[in-house]
Every structure is written in structure tokens, then in C-alpha cells.
């Protein structure tokens, strides 16, 4: 059975394996054991409500196979993008250069450096065993975070954003980076990406060109990559769009990938979720649901069939109830898969 729960220090080895095994870019999931350990620690302190972390709360969840105890995925939430530092994006805008006399009006696309998304809630650190890409575990892992946000709504902002991996070549180069960032950071994409995961953002303030960028001066490949998701992110995008996320004006400063935005209270998982009282009992039939129980450290989310009636009570079989730590009378959150 698949369970999503907060990461613990015992998960370190399992997470590290995930972080290093799969090529996919997860800049917020560092590959160094020390940094990973720090990240788990930060998550645990955030869950415990450490006041020193106010406005810098970061949560990390794992996808566990309850049968084997193995970790097959991670997903994170930064309560406030930037975590107290500026959060960098480019904002796409268009100026119109018009000459009345020559009767021309040219639309000039411009990228403005912006920190506008700083402080919004950020979904991040998503990685999953590639074998599970096309299974319901993928959806469980991604959406369980939204149920966590719902259960701790006051800890999060009114808007949720997700940075989607941008276009890369098979060799791992990013055309957007090669045409823009590389000239200023003097490093390849992978290195910059690595630093952005493990360093403070000071280096971005120090190295990023402060002036707006004219899109027309970038390479054709870079222009094409603006706001374009990586092929591998197609399923993620699809899922997030169903949740109500939309491509806005912001893109990643490194690979040009799109940032998806949604209003927290309008997320499908949140508008459609129902609160029910738990009753342990016999087998479930019916429709497939995400079910979440518990708060903070005890938060658990899994998938089960629920024959959903009109009443306030929902029956869970004892196996899943045990996994979720559900006792009779517990307040559950459910939302259809």
C-alpha cells in the first residue's frame, strides 16, 4: 500500500538514492547527504512549529510502500517561496515600439527580473521512482500536499505556485540557459542548478544581470523554450492543470520553464474535499479516493476505495486505517482520485 507521510531521518538513505538515481532535475532536492539531512531536519522543525522558522517553513513528504518500507518518491512544500530570501523569476512582458510617422507598431517581448512570487506557497522537491510515473501513486504523492495545505491552511499563502522543469536537450543542456544565464554566471546549467539548490541566493543577486532582457536577442531555441515545459513534466502539468493551476507571466530564470499559479482556495482538491468522521470496519468498495488523516508529524495520506454515502461517516478497513493511524471518530479528509 502507498502511504505519503512527512520525511524522517530514517528516510535519508532512501531519499538520497532517489535524488541521485533519476536524472530529472529537482533543484530543491539536493544530492548531498548533508544538505538532505538538513532538509529533513528543517521539515521536522517546521512540522513541530518551531517559531524560529516563522515564514521559512518547508515541508518534505515521502511516498512509502508500506509493505516493504521502501521510499519511492518525495514531494515538498515551501510555505513561502524564497524562504525569507528573494525568489527570482523573469516576468514576460511586451512593450510596443510604435512610430506614428512610419506607421509601424512593433511588439517587443521583454523579460523583467522580478521577485513578485516571493512569499507565495511553493510546491517543490517532487521526485518519484520512474516505474511509478503512470500509476495512481504519482497522483497520490502530488495531491497529498494539497490536502496537507488544506489541513494547515493558516500556514500557507493565498496563492500556490509550481516551477515546471523547462526544456533541455538530451545532453542535459538548457537552450534558455545557454543563450542567457551562461553568459553571466560562467557555468553550465547543471552547476548553476546545483548551486541554486545548496547555496543562499546571494550568488543570484551578485551574478544575475539586473536589466530587462530583450527576447529577440536570444537564440531561436531559447525563445522557443520560454514558458515551455520539459517533455518529462507533461504528466505533472496535466495533473496540476486539473487542479486549477494556470501558466502565468513568470518563468524560471535558469531554464525558462513556466511557473504554474493557482489561488489556494480554488484548488480542485481543496474545493472538492470533504471532511468525514472515520469508522474502522470491513473492506471498502466503491470509488477510488485520496484519504488523509492526522496533523503535522502525524499527517498521513493514502488511496482507498470508499463507498461514499451522504452521511458524515466513512468506513475504512483496518489495514488502511492502521496505516493512516485512524481511530474511530477521527476527522478525515477525502477527495476523489
Amino acid at each position: 500500500m502507498w502511504i505519503v507521510r512527512p520525511a524522517r531521518h530514517e528516510d535519508l538513505a532512501g531519499i538520497e538514492k532517489l535524488a541521485t538515481a533519476h536524472g530529472a532535475r529537482v533543484s530543491t532536492l539536493p544530492q548531498s547527504r548533508d544538505k538532505l539531512s538538513e532538509k529533513i531536519d528543517h521539515s521536522q522543525r517546521s512540522l513541530a512549529g518551531d517559531p524560529a522558522l516563522a515564514d521559512r517553513e518547508r515541508f518534505l513528504f515521502v511516498l512509502e510502500d508500506s509493505g516493504t518500507g521502501r521510499i519511492h518518491g518525495t514531494a515538498g512544500i515551501d510555505a513561502r517561496a524564497g524562504n525569507g530570501q528573494p525568489f527570482y523569476n523573469y516576468r514576460r512582458d511586451e512593450l510596443i515600439h510604435a512610430s506614428h510617422e512610419l506607421d509601424v507598431a512593433k511588439h517587443v517581448a521583454v523579460l523583467y527580473p522580478t521577485h513578485e512570487l516571493t512569499g507565495k506557497t511553493l510546491l517543490c522537491s517532487f521526485t518519484i521512482d520512474p516505474d511509478l510515473r503512470d500509476t495512481e501513486a504519482f497522483e497520490l504523492l502530488s495531491r497529498s500536499r494539497l490536502l496537507f495545505i488544506d489541513r494547515h491552511r493558516e500556514r500557507f499563502s493565498d496563492q500556490v505556485v509550481v516551477e515546471i522543469q523547462g526544456v533541455q536537450t538530451e545532453e542535459g543542456d538548457a537552450p534558455f540557459w545557454d543563450s542567457l544565464g551562461r553568459h553571466f554566471f560562467h557555468m553550465d546549467f547543471a552547476t548553476a542548478d546545483y548551486y541554486s539548490g545548496v547555496k543562499t541566493k546571494t550568488f543570484i543577486a551578485e551574478l544575475m544581470p539586473p536589466n530587462p532582457i530583450y527576447v529577440t536577442l536570444l537564440s531561436d531555441a531559447a525563445q522557443a523554450a520560454i514558458s515551455e515545459p520539459h517533455e518529462a513534466a507533461a504528466r505533472t502539468c496535466q495533473l496540476l492543470e486539473r487542479e486549477g493551476f494556470r501558466v502565468g507571466q513568470h518563468i524560471d530564470i535558469f531554464d525558462g520553464g513556466p511557473v504554474l499559479e493557482a489561488r489556494t482556495d480554488e484548488l480542485t482538491s481543496i474545493t472538492r474535499r470533504r471532511n468525514k468522521t472515520a469508522r474502522r470496519g470491513e473492506g471498502s468498495r466503491g470509488v477510488r479516493y485520496l484519504v488523509a488523516n492526522g496533523d503535522s508529524e502525524s499527517f498521513r495520506c493514502s488511496l482507498t476505495n470508499v463507498s461514499d454515502g451522504l452521511g458524515d461517516v466513512v468506513r475504512l478497513n483496518t489495514t488502511i486505517a492502521d496505516q493512516l493511524g485512524v481511530s474511530d471518530g477521527d476527522d478525515l479528509v477525502l477527495v476523489a482520485l
Binding site: H183, E206, L217
Partner: protein, 349 residues
């Protein structure tokens, strides 16, 4: 004799012929009689004090007195950017460094600027193919500094020249193709023509206003920023010899450099001396090599005249000259003239 004097309407046809012969790349003097005539009229107004001398346009003709023909022209715009907006790019350096990461990056950056506004420009140099030898180019160019030496109060402290940038035989400019064209949607020649005709408001309207980071441009464009056209290299060397230096600005279309100097530091000015004229009956061999000649100006605002004499004519307090030279210069014995070497004597250095 080759004589510098103010340009006048009588020179229109000669000027038009020269402009036609010059071909592309000389946007300030297109072969257009109306425009040329207006320019001459403006110069006449300037010399005749019908406009403020600080806002004047001084155009000089090089006359072959034997042929009674204008064979060259050169000019000074007392102040640029008065009526229209004067644009350049400033080639500046942006440095970004991260000590933590050990990264230190210098990014050449083009900033749109109007910093030459209100500065005197030497411009409009054009010399007939038939008269390119014997230091005529030097005379045509340097006579302007003799003029400025005597009328410093009408010019800015600094003087500059815009040098033609790199373009190929078809008039294509690598910088324009990489930069200007993307914003103007027109050919270099068209933009250059519009700008030469004095229509510059389209630049304000269409030009990119934010700085351009040079590394974003393709290599051929990067390579020509601040570089001169091969045909202009001799002119650049001449100005460098006068003490002009690249000031970091370049043309917004083709990237050609702007060179500048303080007038008081220009060699022709610095090395110039004043002497009293002594009209002499002794025959003088005027036909000596450029290195041995000096320019001599009559220091007149309205009827400026310059020609050359052998250096040997200069005496401690006077300069002696044959009557025909004095006549051409409209001076008599006792008048104070200004003299300066026509060409540096390299061996003497």
C-alpha cells in the same frame, strides 16, 4: 594653389558631383541638391552671423584655385543635439562577481546615451578622388582645428568625430543585422538614410531603451562594436595623431567609434604659433613635401582662408610669403596669422 575657404552656394554642383561619387556610407551628405543647398545655406548663415555662432554649422571648401573648383569639403557642427536628439551607444562594462563561488564576470554592455549632446563635432569630410595626394586630406581636416583655435568661445571644450563603422561591400552592417534590424524592421541603408535626412524621432520611438548585453549578440556583431570601416582607417589614424581617443561611445546603427579630444590638446592647436605676415618678393618654392609644409590661416571668422607654406618661411617673429599667397589669404604685411605643421615629421620624433 589649394585654398580653404567658406563653402558657398556656388559650390553646389561640385559638391553634388562629389557626393554622388562617394557612394554609400556618407549619410550626412547624400547626393540630393535640395538637402545640399539647405546645408550650404546654413553654413552661409553661420559665417555671416545670421545665427548664433554657438549653434552654427561651419562648412569649408577646398578650392583648387587653378581649376576654380571645389574639390573637397569639411565641417564643424558647433553643437550637436540641439534640434534633434543625438544618440550613441556607450560601451560600458558590467562586472558581476561572487566571491563565494569564485566567479568574476565582465559583461560589455551597450547603454543608449545622449552624452554627446551640446558638443562640437567635426564632420562632413569629403575629398575628390582627383586630389587625394600631397597632404590635401590633412589640410582639409586639420584646417578646422586652426579655425577652432581662434574661435574657441563658439565651440565646446571637447570636440568629437563619429567614425564610419564596419559594413560589407553591399552596405550590410553586422551590428545592424543583429541588433537594429530586430527593432526597426528595415535595412541598415534605409535607417541610415532616414537618420541622415534629419528624421530622428523614429529612433526615439523604435530604439530599444534598456541596456544591451553584448554577449547576447552573435560574434560578427560583437566584433565590430567600436571598430571602423577599412576605408576610414586612415582618417582614424590622422585623428589619433592629433590626439583624439576612443571615448567609449559608438554609433547606434553600425557600431563605429566616437573619438574625441579637448580642443586645447589637439596637436594642430597645441603646436600652432602666431606670426606677423611679411609679404616678400623673394621667390618661394611652394612645392615641398607635406612634412616640410605648414598650414597658415588668416584667422578670419567670416572669410576664413588657409593654405600651406614651406616650414622654412617661419621666422622668429614673422612669416614670409609671396604676394600670391598673401592675396589668397586676404592678408597684408603686419597681419597676424596662425601656423601649424601640416604633417607630423616622423623622423624628428
Amino acid at each position: 594653389m589649394l585654398l580653404i575657404r567658406p563653402l558657398s552656394q556656388g559650390d553646389l554642383e561640385d559638391l553634388h558631383d562629389m557626393a554622388e561619387g562617394a557612394g554609400k556610407g556618407l549619410t550626412s551628405l547624400p547626393p540630393n541638391r535640395d538637402l545640399l543647398s539647405r546645408k550650404i545655406a546654413r553654413a552661409e548663415d553661420t559665417f555671416n552671423e545670421r545665427c548664433a555662432p554657438e549653434a552654427g554649422m561651419y562648412l569649408f571648401a577646398l578650392e583648387d584655385t587653378g581649376q576654380k573648383k571645389c574639390v573637397g569639403i569639411s565641417g564643424i557642427e558647433a553643437r550637436v543635439g540641439l534640434d534633434e536628439v543625438w544618440y550613441n551607444y556607450r560601451l560600458s562594462t558590467t562586472v558581476n562577481a561572487s566571491r563565494e563561488l569564485g566567479v568574476h564576470v565582465r559583461t560589455p554592455t551597450l547603454h543608449l546615451t545622449n552624452d554627446m549632446t551640446d558638443t562640437s563635432e567635426i564632420c562632413s569630410l569629403l575629398l575628390s578622388d582627383t586630389h587625394r595626394q600631397g597632404g590635401n586630406g590633412l589640410l582639409l581636416s586639420r584646417c578646422r582645428f586652426l579655425y577652432m583655435a581662434d574661435f574657441r568661445e563658439f565651440f565646446s571644450e571637447k570636440v568629437f568625430a563619429e567614425m564610419r563603422g564596419v559594413s560589407d561591400e553591399n552596405g550590410r552592417s553586422p551590428l545592424w543585422d543583429a541588433l537594429g534590424r530586430r527593432f526597426f524592421d528595415m535595412d541598415f541603408s534605409e535607417a541610415d538614410f532616414l537618420s541622415g535626412m534629419g528624421n530622428k524621432s523614429f529612433i526615439a520611438e523604435l530604439m530599444p531603451k534598456y541596456p544591451i548585453y553584448v554577449p547576447l549578440l552573435p560574434e560578427p556583431a560583437r566584433d565590430v562594436i567600436g571598430q571602423v570601416h577599412d576605408n576610414t582607417k586612415p582618417a582614424l589614424r590622422m585623428l589619433q595623431a592629433e590626439g583624439f581617443n576612443f571615448n567609449g561611445l559608438c554609433d547606434i546603427f553600425d557600431g563605429g567609434p566616437v573619438v574625441e579630444a579637448f580642443i586645447h590638446n589637439v596637436r594642430t592647436v597645441r603646436e600652432s604659433v602666431k606670426r606677423h605676415v611679411l609679404v616678400s618678393r623673394q621667390p618661394v618654392n611652394l612645392d615641398v613635401p607635406p612634412e616640410e609644409r605648414v598650414m597658415v590661416s588668416n584667422r578670419s571668422f567670416r572669410d576664413f582662408r588657409v593654405t600651406t607654406l614651406p616650414r622654412s618661411c617661419i621666422k622668429p617673429d614673422t612669416v614670409s610669403m609671396p604676394a600670391e599667397v598673401a592675396d589668397a589669404l586676404q592678408v597684408s604685411s603686419g597681419d597676424l596669422v596662425r601656423l601649424s605643421p601640416l604633417k607630423e615629421n616622423r623622423t624628428a620624433k
